[in-house]
Symmetry: C2
Subunit: 364 residues, 2 copies
């Protein structure tokens, strides 16, 4: 079976060279005489893997030394609780910028544990833009400000970040490692692995030292950042195989030239698709130009019927998972780091041909 072009929003496409390495070493890794899946998390071999994974992430994201890196389970959804349970320490209040479905889930979870102030929202226009940061008043009596750096469902992203006294917390699930960021601007960054990092089942947290050790007394031990910091993510059995594959993806990112080069590729890929959509009479993007995501690109025709036909024909031509999220409809192409430029070129060719056929049918 030939590989398809997989535009899934997550879990999503991984570099083929990484998959081939995983395949080669699947039954017996290096000199270990066993699969990585069978390794004790306390073995020398696995400790090398997790340490290398952390070192690569630190190098690639230029993570300052006063930040800890954690490899956790539970998905980004568990962070929606873990952040308030650990960070609501002085004011019992968190501020949020509401930019879509994932922001809303984070908000409703934080409400369980403290007060929530929505200091900006793009709900008025269907989350089709990122609120202007210049207009922002940030109350000083908050424990943190939470943003969703890239909105997977709505296809928007922050191109700059609010400056705050309180720690800035960001859900980077869908655009971590897609471009260089200044980690020192954030108090805490979290991301589910299953888009730009590796297989599902792993969540990465980057947390500034001063935010560790203030958990609510009722916080489950496993949801206390301190638990995992103290044990270098080996308090209990971590998702070992996901960490291993993530290490290989990080090696791949380095081979590509690091985040600067990755970012250039991502700009190129996104431009190919947006340029085609913008000039197309058939397809359009619902997202304001300055707010557009490089990772998740929703688009649509004006007809439900034609959208459906497009998805059927796309699938038949090897372009899979192009359905928009059920809450938005239409189409969405998730084009994470591992999607090759060629995948976008072929998609654009296909869209262009589809458009011609539709126009012919309409004109005939």
């Amino acid at each position: 079976m030939e590989r398809v072009y997989n535009f899934s929003a997550g879990p999503s496409v991984l570099p083929v060279s990484v998959l081939e390495k995983v395949q080669k070493d699947l039954v017996s890794f290096g000199n270990a005489g066993m699969s990585v899946m069978e390794m004790s998390h306390r073995s020398k071999e696995f400790e090398e893997i997790i340490q290398k994974c952390e070192a690569l992430l630190r190098e690639i994201l230029e993570i300052p030394t006063n930040y800890k890196v954690l490899f956790l389970q539970g998905g980004a959804s568990t962070q929606f609780s873990m952040v308030p349970l650990n960070l609501l320490k002085h004011f019992q209040t968190a501020a949020f910028i509401n930019t879509g479905s994932w922001s809303k889930k984070a908000i409703s979870e934080a409400k369980k544990y403290g007060d929530v102030k929505i200091i900006a929202s793009s709900e008025d226009k269907n989350y089709s833009y990122i609120p202007k940061l210049e207009d922002l008043y940030i109350d000083p009596s908050i424990d943190y400000l939470h943003i969703t750096s890239n909105n997977t469902i709505e296809g928007t992203k922050f191109s700059s970040f609010p400056t705050t006294k309180a720690p800035l917390v960001a859900d980077f699930s869908s655009n971590i490692l897609s471009e260089p960021i200044d980690v020192s601007k954030f108090g805490l960054i979290y991301a589910g692995a299953q888009k730009n990092i590796g297989p599902a089942g792993l969540t990465i947290v980057i947390i500034r030292d001063d935010l560790i050790g203030h958990a609510n007394t009722l916080c489950p031990t496993m949801l206390d950042y301190k638990t995992h910091v103290g044990a270098s993510s080996l308090y209990n059995t971590p998702p070992t195989f996901s960490i291993y594959v993530s290490m290989l993806v990080l090696e791949w990112i380095k081979e590509q030239g690091g985040l600067k080069q990755i970012h250039e590729n991502n700009l190129l890929k996104a431009k190919l698709l947006y340029d085609f959509i913008d000039q197309s009479p058939l397809f359009s993007s619902p997202v304001e130009i300055e707010s557009r995501s490089l990772m998740n690109i929703p688009f649509s025709t004006s007809s439900e019927e034609i959208n459906k036909q497009f998805l059927v024909e796309a699938l038949a031509n090897g372009f899979v998972n192009l359905e928009g999220h059920r809450s938005v409809g239409g189409m969405r192409a998730s084009i994470y780091n591992a999607m090759p430029v060629e995948g976008i070129e072929k998609l654009v060719q296909f869209m262009s041909q589809f458009e011609k056929n539709i126009v012919e049918v309409i004109e005939s």
Copy 2:
């Protein structure tokens, strides 16, 4: 590299035939044109995998229809909080039988959320036995009774289970699927996958319907069983690849003849090792005969020095991860389902030869 005999307590040995299947389909699974790691958890292909995994587990364990099966993240350690957060609903009291390190961790977590009664303990003799169930008085004012069915570190297991009015909750992490059990005797069963089920990063919960939907109002959404029941374990992104490998392990168990045959193999394997240890002048087992685990077999010589020498020579001969847990010392052979009989036979041969050499040295 030849494969070694891996006696790790977890993550641990997997069937080679399963690893070979995983390897074969790693880059492109069936007709999907992508790796299982790259599949959307909402795709038809992955839904088939998770449904098949559940169906196999239900068939193999004969799970009654009034129980739900959940595929979660967070490890058994997260269950230590999740159980009290969900089950302490009437009396705010849980009873525990304390049989070792893992029981103690479950106990200390439950204390955060309610009262805890230790109704039996084997702490007096270093957890070398399972308390007699006939002597047990079970207070009716408890929300549940928690046991650790197999004590991974101390090498003991329950051979029968207490009869209770309150739901019986069991941490089956280290002996699930090692023998048939009557699920209807339990209110809730949980197990980390990384011993008898599959790769780390997946936790299986089997929960009776009446125990769902009573979570504490401060329970994080992700720690509420109801969240995952309502979404058939697809509320958020599950550990997809671990679920896939677990499905293959369950197929393998079925091919072996199911739990009856698996249990016979396990009895045979354990007997080989215990019989050798019991007749050996050098090695001995710290565990009372009636309480002995089929999965984790601690043993020791009377000398720290000789233990060390044994571990070094064992490693050099391809028997790995035989160190006892740091809290116990000595040696421990974890011989889960996937450890072949031949692995035990060779280990016993090696121990026997080691013993002869030691005796010769002492006598010369």
